[in-house]
Symmetry: C3
Subunit: 356 residues, 3 copies
């Protein structure tokens, strides 16, 4: 009977592919000099939008994330006694578990809400009132809600910090932070003087996909590292930005270019970011179905691929075993990035700084 079950089905290896190793985060850690003050001030802030960050805060969060990722077992109690309210009123595995894992790895406890229908919202309670209640129950809130105004409704009453983990078509700032963290982890030398600029392609809709909107905002804090940011889409050029969105990004120094042709761009792209899902109302829509990356795609030899969400047909699994695959590293790094952010938000920064 044992014959039917192959050994390879049973035995697994805990070893990690190279991009998951600690060389990259260690290199990034060395590249950024510690500045604890930038993090300490996060103790009094909600995290709502990528608009709210400056370069130094982002870099210090990346430094702390890379410190966690370089040595995952070193810190496991900074959040001891702290309670996270993990409120996901929209379906999610990845983001919810990424946050919850981050919290647990730091020693905290969690209360989860995973379904609107099981909660008081079913009785018509407002998010402002729920926020008032949350003050009594926990030390931090992570909220995902299909309504754009949800986070601001809740912050109107909160006296504990909240993280926007996706509010409709608006923003998903921690995902964008995790995305940029991956790019710096991949190539820490981008943070040195006169870096060799990179060309990034984004397959997606800046006006419709919260991950893309947030990503462009965080890119605009570091315009000097981008030769060009190419938006690859299947709409008309007039239909992919909300009012003023493009202008703001360009004023901040980003070189934007739009195109409908993915494969023509691929040979010149150092980073290809692909996303095919937009959350609209209570459901999701697929966009850009015609854009597909696979092992036959004319990728630049040392180009990497990022993908922020659950993968669909747009990203073939035959790329998983290639060096282009940094989307796994991206998902892994998101946990450490969130660990860094959460630590600061609940006033435990000083427990993990090198110099106090």
């Amino acid at each position: 009977m044992v014959d039917q079950l192959k050994d390879e089905d049973l035995v697994f290896s805990r070893a990690k592919p190279d991009v998951f190793g600690d060389a990259h985060p260690k290199a990034l850690l060395k590249t950024i000099q510690e500045d604890g003050d930038a993090l300490v001030k996060l103790a009094n802030q909600h995290i709502i939008s990528c608009d709210q960050f400056d370069r130094q805060t982002i870099l210090q969060l990346f430094r702390l994330a890379s410190k966690y990722e370089s040595n995952p077992k070193r810190f496991n109690t900074p959040l001891k006694g702290k309670i996270l309210i993990s409120a996901f009123y929209e379906p999610s595995t990845r983001t919810r578990l990424s946050f919850e894992s981050a919290w647990h790895r730091l020693g905290g406890d969690i209360m989860s809400i995973t379904d609107r229908s099981t909660t008081g919202i079913a009785k018509g309670e407002s998010l402002a009132d729920i926020g008032e209640m949350f003050n009594n129950y926990g030390d931090c809130v992570v909220l995902r809600e299909s309504n754009e105004d949800s986070v601001k409704e809740m912050t109107s009453t909160l006296r504990i910090p909240i993280i926007n983990a996706g509010n409709g078509t608006d923003e998903h700032p921690t995902q964008a932070m995790a995305d940029l963290y991956t790019i710096f982890k991949w190539r820490p030398e981008l943070l040195k003087d006169n870096p060799q600029k990179i060309r990034v392609g984004i397959v997606g809709l800046p006006n419709y996909m919260r991950t893309v909107r947030s990503l462009l905002k965080i890119f605009s804090l570091f315009p000097e590292i981008f030769e060009e940011v190419v938006i690859i889409h299947d709409k008309t050029d007039d239909d992919i930005f909300t009012e003023g969105q493009r202008e703001q990004l360009e004023e901040a120094g980003l070189n934007l270019r739009l195109t409908n042709r993915l494969n023509k761009e691929l040979p010149e792209l150092d980073v290809v970011y692909i996303n095919a899902i937009a959350w609209v109302g209570d459901d999701f829509e697929s966009h850009g179905d015609k854009f597909v990356l696979n092992a036959q795609s004319p990728l630049k030899e040392d180009g990497i691929i990022l993908h922020p969400l659950a993968r669909g047909d747009e990203l073939s699994t035959d790329l998983d075993e290639t060096p282009h695959n940094w989307y796994f590293s991206q998902a892994r790094g998101a946990v450490f990035l969130r660990m860094a952010l959460l630590t600061c938000m609940v006033e435990r920064t000083e427990m993990v700084m090198d110099v106090i």
Copy 2:
């Protein structure tokens, strides 16, 4: 871009309004003399109904709750190693999170059931059998179920304690305890000799709303503090009590009066308790829609408002910033009240007593 996001959206203050401060719970704590024996005996009891309590047990629980609330960070490990089974077969945010927060604050672990459809009940398992299983899985059960008999079905097999967190239209004893705790926290002098009696108005249906039923029962243990309890309702007077309910309350010494007119009573009410939701079967019903409290209501100058559940239109948010608002303190205090009760039920009372 930062302009779009206002600082006031991002920055929050951890400071609490006055009613949330520690002056009130500290005053209540001083008013009640410790009697640990009253609490120790709770280690062998289920919490099913307000009928089961005597004055001394209630007061000692309030004492412990006020001790917790006076110094929220002092005790954080009494429930270490203990497992709560949080079984909510009816939708809830407030009550579930209030219990779970209480348990986590004391250092315990939790397993949650948040939806009937995800459980063995879907396969037809009886509550008695589920209770038998729970004996093996945890140290305490909190149950919310739409069926009145649910708690007793489960106690038929339980060898660990259970708390009734709402069983259909029957009772919700810990909510009533939290309500009365708020009143004593607001005015600890009610516990001294010859207190100045208060007049309380209850907007709700004693025969139909479990919170009102439980509240009147716990009021009846302290008849000497109530000048009068006015039931404000929109039915006929014959239709708001179950058989014998009114007689029992009056025998216990409560002065009850019924009326259909809220605003006429308000100027004389020290406490107004308002609730518009009744759970019937698997859904809720609204009652008393015509009764509304807002900043224009003719409230007594130093009168306070209590509200046990998710707020609907019956309680205007323009009262939130007024001194009448003790409903936020009520929700906050419920966590500490539940901490007190849970500590006693799992045999950890001696870890938090002043004198051992």
Copy 3:
């Protein structure tokens, strides 16, 4: 008012019936000599099927389970800092809570998925991709899924261990382990030389019920203890095994016999195992409704009853207070069995061995 509520409703006893006592697990513990190497190797294995075990591994797991059950409070930190991903895409109370309780009792933290509709599967994410994510989030996965191939899909990417907690109609190995553990706990002398063989009756379908399939596989590792294994079913004899299933069991040394008559067999059965539920697709089916055990059933005087799942009409509650009831002990023991398995899988075996 207190009169309405009887004392017997309120007061409970923490004392346990005899089969729940520690005499049986202690006796089993003494019967098996420790061999830590057999457990240490589990640190590199997924748990998919009963096919994968040998006698020594099973016995050592039973030894560790009986050590836990003999002294439930002795070990409470071996999994400190470890995170379980409890992924139940099919409804379950028992199995989920049994695993989660096991994990919590050993000091670990948990993230739960309790409903397919709340997860990324709703967006079409593959189990292989979910497995890749899980690598980043936790230290161990417990998976229940209605699809047979689900576990293997996930192991294709996992670098942390997974336990199959029921995959469609295929297997449920930890349940079978808990079942056999109960039999050895009931009669440890079965493990001595020349044991008095037992006759076991299984009411159920080996080709359709995952619990029965797994049970027969694990029985086949210990053929010397079974006089006979009688399959009691309401189909035709040709319709209860999948291809090759019967032959494999008989080659391993099991004496199998089939019948449609339960009561005729009962007087000779030392162990009756009854199960009426099969999971098929996204729902369950009932089988063998005509087979019922109750206090009038002609059970052998010292015969015992086992039941692996939520009880339906097939097992009358009037047997609960009889010595035939070992199904409660079976459910209780499953927690300790899972504690043993989980300890080994996350490389903490050495923390609980007698000799290191």
